[in-house]
C-alpha cells in the first residue's frame, strides 16, 4: 500500500503572535516558533501504523515556502519513508480551494496512492476543510473526523472507519482510494527516535524533492492568489479583556458559593 500524508508547518501552539501592517509574525520564547501542525502528527502516526500492519510505504507532502520544512522533517523523523515539498512563489496566498488543487495534483503525481491522511485542521488558518476539498478534487472517498481506522482491505479495495460526529460515533465503509482527516483520539503519536531525527536531517539536506507548478503539470490559474476566492481584508489582535477578575473571598465555601450565585444571577447567565 502507498499511503500519503499531508502536513503543514505552523506556528507553535505557545507562539506569541503580533500583527504589523497586516502581516502576522510570531516568536516563541520557550522553544521553536515553527512546528509541524500538531493535528498532522496524528495523521503521520496513523499512516506509519497502517504501513507497519499492511506493508508498503508512506510519503509525506507539504506545500509551503522553501524554508517551511518542519512538518516534513517531523514526518521523516517519525518514520515516513519519503517526503516532497511542493513549493513555488506562485503558490503564495492560496486559500483552501487553491491549496486543495495543488495537494491533489501532487498526490496524482505520486501516482499509486491508495490512501491519503490529513490532520483535522491547521492551527494557523484554522479552516479544517482542505482534506475534504482534496478528496473532492481527486474524486476519492471522503472520510472526515476519523477516530479509528477499523479495517483496510487492500485486496477488496475498501476501508472501514469510525467517525466522531455530532450524532455520535458513526461506522462507515467506502472504496479505496480514500482521503481521511483524523482526530486526536485516533492514536498517540510516537516521539521520533534519535536515529530518526538524524535520518530526517540528512534527508532534508540531500534527498528532499521540491516540486514546482511545472512539475505538477498544474493549471497556473488555479493556484496561489489567482486560484483563490477568499481574500483577507484585515487581521487583528483581539482587544485585551476588559476588567479584572473579581476574586470571591469568603469565610467558607458555602458563603463563597452564595456570593458567586448572587453575581451570576445579576449577570443573568443563569
Amino acid at each position: 500500500m502507498h499511503i500519503a500524508i499531508c502536513a503543514k508547518q505552523t506556528p507553535s501552539t505557545t507562539a506569541v503572535l503580533a500583527v504589523e501592517d497586516g502581516k502576522v509574525t510570531w516568536s516563541d520564547p520557550g522553544g521553536s516558533p515553527d512546528i509541524a501542525n500538531p493535528w498532522d502528527e496524528y495523521a503521520i502516526e496513523e499512516a506509519i501504523r497502517l504501513k507497519e500492519k499492511h506493508g508498503g510505504k508512506v510519503t509525506a507532502i507539504s506545500m509551503g515556502p522553501e524554508e517551511a520544512r518542519e512538518a516534513l522533517k517531523t514526518a521523516i523523523a517519525m518514520g515516513c519513508d519519503e517526503a516532497v515539498l511542493v513549493s513555488d512563489e506562485a503558490m503564495k496566498g492560496s486559500d483552501t480551494l487553491a491549496t486543495s488543487y495543488v495537494l491533489a495534483k501532487a498526490i496524482e503525481k505520486l501516482g499509486d496512492v491508495d490512501l491519503v491522511i490529513f490532520g483535522r485542521q491547521a492551527v494557523d488558518g484554522d479552516t479544517g476543510q482542505t482534506s475534504m476539498q482534496v478528496a473532492r478534487r481527486l474524486g476519492w472517498t471522503p472520510l472526515s473526523f476519523v477516530v479509528a481506522v477499523d479495517e483496510v482491505d487492500a485486496e477488496g479495495g475498501t476501508v472501514t472507519v469510525t467517525r466522531a460526529i455530532e450524532a455520535g460515533r458513526q461506522k462507515v465503509k467506502g472504496p479505496l482510494p480514500a482521503a481521511l482527516s483524523v482526530l486526536k483520539e485516533i492514536n498517540e503519536p510516537r516521539y521520533p527516535s534519535f536515529k530518526g531525527i538524524r535520518q530526517a536531517t540528512k534527508y532534508m539536506r540531500r534527498s528532499l524533492p521540491i516540486w514546482a507548478t511545472a512539475d505538477l503539470e498544474a493549471d497556473s490559474s488555479k493556484i496561489g492568489a489567482a486560484g483563490s476566492r477568499v481574500r483577507w481584508l484585515q487581521v487583528y489582535a483581539l482587544p485585551p479583556k476588559e476588567g479584572e477578575c473579581t476574586m470571591i473571598e469568603a469565610d467558607s465555601p458555602e458563603a463563597a458559593a452564595a456570593e458567586l450565585v448572587d453575581k451570576l444571577l445579576e449577570e443573568k447567565v443563569l
Binding site: Q129, M132, G174, W232, M247, A257, V261, L264, L270
Partner: protein, 324 residues
C-alpha cells in the same frame, strides 16, 4: 445572482440549533441585500422541518425527502447543494460549522469553484458585499475576509449568532425536489451509529462546567458532573484530564479539542494553559475555581475563587439547588 441560502442540518427530524442560528443570520443578510432567504432541507421526513424553517425566517424551502439523505453523509447532500446552486446562483450559502456542515460546504465549494469561509463569528454587508469575521491562529487573532467570484460559502460557529424566535404566522413556499445522487452512486456506506445519548453537545451548550488535572482522577469528575447536571450544563475537560484517561476526548476543550462559546464557563482545577484558553476564551462569563492564586486562568476569568475544588464545587451545587 440573488438569494441567500441556508443548508439546514436535521437531527431527529428537527433543525440543529446552529442551523436555526444560521437562518437568523441569513435572514439579516437577505434583508440588507434586498433579496430572499431560502432554506435547503434535505433528509427523511422533512415536512415539519421545512415548515419550521419558514417560521424561522425562510421565504422558501427547497425540500428533498429521501432515504439517502438521512444519515449525515456529505456526498449526496453536497451533490444536491451544488446542483441547485449551479442552477440558481445564490449570493451565499450558509451552514452551521458542524462536522456535516463543514463537509457539505467543502465538497460543494470544489464543485462550484467557490470561496469557502469556515467558522464565521460575524457577517455584515459593506458596499453591497458580504464580509465575514472569523478567528484564526487558534483564536489568538481575528480576521475580516470576503470571497470574490460568484457564490460564497460560509459555515457559522455555534452560538455566535442569535437564534431567531419561531413566528408561526410566517408563510412561504415549499418546493419539493429530487435527490441528485442515486443510492448506488454514493461511495460511503453507513454500517452503524452509536448515538451520543442525551449528552448536551459542547458547541451548543449555554453553560459548560469543566474539570482539569485538579480533579485528580476519574472519580474526581463526580462533583464536577453533579454541578453540571444541576445547571443543565455540558461537561468539559482540559487535555490533561483527557490524556490521563479520566474522561473521553469528546469532552476536551481547547486548541486540539472543541472550541466553545457558552454564556457561562466554569473551570475547576484547570490552570489555564494557552491551548485551553484558545478553546473557551470567547465565553461570556468565566468562573475559575483553583487552589493556586497564581493560576493563569484567573487572568481571563471574571470571577475567581481560590479554594479546594472538592469543597467548593459541592458547595456551589448545594447553593444552586437551593436557589434555582
Amino acid at each position: 445572482m440573488s438569494g441567500i441560502w441556508v443548508w439546514v442540518e436535521l437531527s431527529d427530524g428537527k433543525a440543529a440549533p446552529v442551523s436555526v442560528e444560521a437562518l437568523g443570520a441569513g435572514r439579516a443578510l437577505a434583508d440588507e441585500l434586498g433579496t430572499e432567504l431560502s432554506a435547503l432541507v434535505f433528509g427523511q421526513g422533512v415536512e415539519e422541518a421545512a415548515e419550521a424553517a419558514i417560521h424561522h425566517g425562510a421565504d422558501q424551502v427547497y425540500a428533498c425527502d429521501d432515504a439517502t439523505l438521512a444519515d449525515c453523509r456529505s456526498e449526496p447532500h453536497a451533490a444536491l447543494v451544488s446542483q441547485l446552486a449551479a442552477e440558481h446562483e445564490p449570493i451565499a450559502i450558509l451552514a452551521g460549522a458542524t462536522a456535516s456542515g463543514r463537509d457539505v460546504l467543502a465538497l460543494a465549494a470544489v464543485d462550484l469553484e467557490a470561496g469557502l469561509i469556515p467558522d464565521c463569528t460575524g457577517l455584515a454587508v459593506e458596499d453591497g458585499a458580504i464580509r465575514a469575521t472569523r478567528p484564526v491562529y487558534a483564536g489568538k487573532l481575528m480576521s475580516n475576509v470576503y470571497a470574490d467570484g460568484d457564490t460564497m460559502l460560509a459555515s457559522l460557529r455555534s452560538r455566535a449568532f442569535p437564534a431567531p424566535e419561531a413566528d408561526a404566522a410566517r408563510s412561504g413556499e415549499v418546493i419539493n425536489i429530487q435527490p441528485a445522487m442515486a443510492a448506488g452512486d454514493i461511495s460511503v456506506e453507513v454500517l452503524g451509529l452509536e448515538a451520543s445519548a442525551g449528552e448536551v453537545s459542547l458547541a451548543d451548550a449555554g453553560i459548560i462546567v469543566s474539570g482539569g488535572r485538579g480533579v485528580a482522577g476519574p472519580e474526581g469528575f463526580e462533583p464536577v458532573r453533579k454541578l453540571a447536571s444541576t445547571l443543565g450544563a455540558a461537561l468539559g475537560a482540559s487535555r490533561a484530564a483527557v490524556d490521563a484517561g479520566w474522561i473521553p476526548y469528546a469532552r476536551q476543550v481547547g486548541q486540539t479539542g472543541k472550541t466553545v462559546s457558552p454564556d457561562l464557563y466554569v473551570a475547576a482545577g484547570i490552570s489555564g494553559a494557552i491551548q485551553h484558553l484558545a478553546g473557551m476564551r470567547t465565553s461570556k462569563v468565566i468562573v475559575a475555581i483553583n487552589k493556586d492564586p497564581e493560576a493563569p486562568i484567573f487572568k481571563l476569568a471574571q470571577y475567581g475563587i481560590v479554594a479546594d475544588l472538592f469543597k467548593m464545587v459541592p458547595a456551589l451545587t448545594a447553593e444552586l439547588k437551593k436557589r434555582l
